[in-house]
Assembly symmetry: C2
Homo-oligomer: 220 residues x 2
């Protein structure tokens, strides 16, 4: 499948690398490819992932059958706009981002989610012809891409209003190594509020566990 990953940070790298590793045709979208290449060891990362092309956001959008939003949540709407999500009706958008603002100090970042809104819903509202699925945003990016890093029956969540789009995301997660029974469908896209508001607990668990290789399992 042709996958575009928006975002060149740690999350984007982990997911783009994994998508390529499991056989997909991957581009990474950024505002200014030349500048990204010069920054933070990105050129070296690209050399190590030679099937992945770094392109401008608009070209990434044109490439995509499935687009992964792995940008910083505060920039997700702009990046998706640059990628022309509005010009590709039906595009599946897997939104793994959280809106985290660490500028205020204190033990937790401010979070751009509440019980009446989420980033995923704001993306869906801004791009009504897209098919947004929230997923993977409840753990460290290395675990998103390779759940076998963490032992046990830990889970991930999907939420979205389009069943076919959720099925496409589920297929991608299966390729990453997520067994179907550990991908819990929380229902419509409004359930993204629940997973985005979980972030402070995730950060506390990360601290308590002393490792980012941590996730939750469901007992019932």
């Amino acid at each position: 499948m042709r996958i575009a990953v928006l975002g060149t940070g740690e999350v984007g790298r982990a997911l783009a690398g994994r998508c390529a590793e499991v056989g997909h045709d991957v581009v990474v979208g950024t505002r200014d490819p030349a500048r990204t290449r010069d920054r933070d060891g990105y050129a070296g990362w690209l050399d190590a992932h030679d099937t992945i092309r770094l392109v401008a956001n608009a070209e990434a959008g044109a490439h995509a059958e499935l687009l992964v939003n792995a940008t910083n949540g505060a920039g997700s709407l702009a990046a998706s706009g640059d990628a022309g999500v509005a010009d590709h009706p039906g595009l599946v958008v897997l939104d793994v981002a959280n809106v985290l603002d660490f500028s205020g100090g204190g033990p937790y970042p401010a979070i751009g989610a509440a019980t009446d809104h989420s980033l995923a819903e704001r993306l869906q509202a801004a791009f009504p012809t897209a098919r947004v699925v929230k997923g993977l945003n409840t753990m460290n990016c290395q675990v998103m891409a390779d759940p076998a890093r963490v032992p046990g029956e830990h889970v991930t969540f999907v939420a979205g209003d389009d069943e076919d789009a959720k099925a496409a995301v589920r297929a991608l997660l299966a390729a990453f190594g997520w067994p179907a029974h550990r991908v819990l469908d929380l229902g419509g896209l409004s359930a993204a509020r629940a997973t985005e508001m979980y972030l402070p607990l995730w950060l506390s668990l990360f601290t308590a566990a002393g490792t980012a290789d941590v996730n939750i399992a469901l007992c019932r």
Copy 2:
């Protein structure tokens, strides 16, 4: 130990009943004992728990070595005030409540917690001589009181600024059946923000699992 439970709803009944069952000297505090007794089958519940006395909040506070706040979160400050928490310096307050407002409709209740405040911290600020510990607020009350209802290594959390108070709460949880390694200490009371903001995900898990007998385990 002399325990007072504030709150006569489902949560208060589950916790008061369990505290008595494991051998504590339990009173339940309410605004108007005569009115509570007439309501919602409470008289019958009291008959079935004949070591428990229903008293006015002020008498409950005077009785308590440990006070459990199991009121509706919106009424917790007033109830704690009525219980005279300010008049009993050093009192351990186990706050299991969440501020949930279902009046807005929508898939999730409004929640009176955010990354910069929590109910537990508001209680601590209102009653600075109390020793507030947040705990048990991340699951159904039947599971709080009897974790063996749910199989597996599921966990609960404590957060608080006083180590001795946390130890007292841990001892109570151990009596309920929570093994020490499944009571995760998230640190200071500000971590209550994390567990209170988890509620929407808990509600989603409840729905997805189709049972209130559900909780999370940590994999690492």
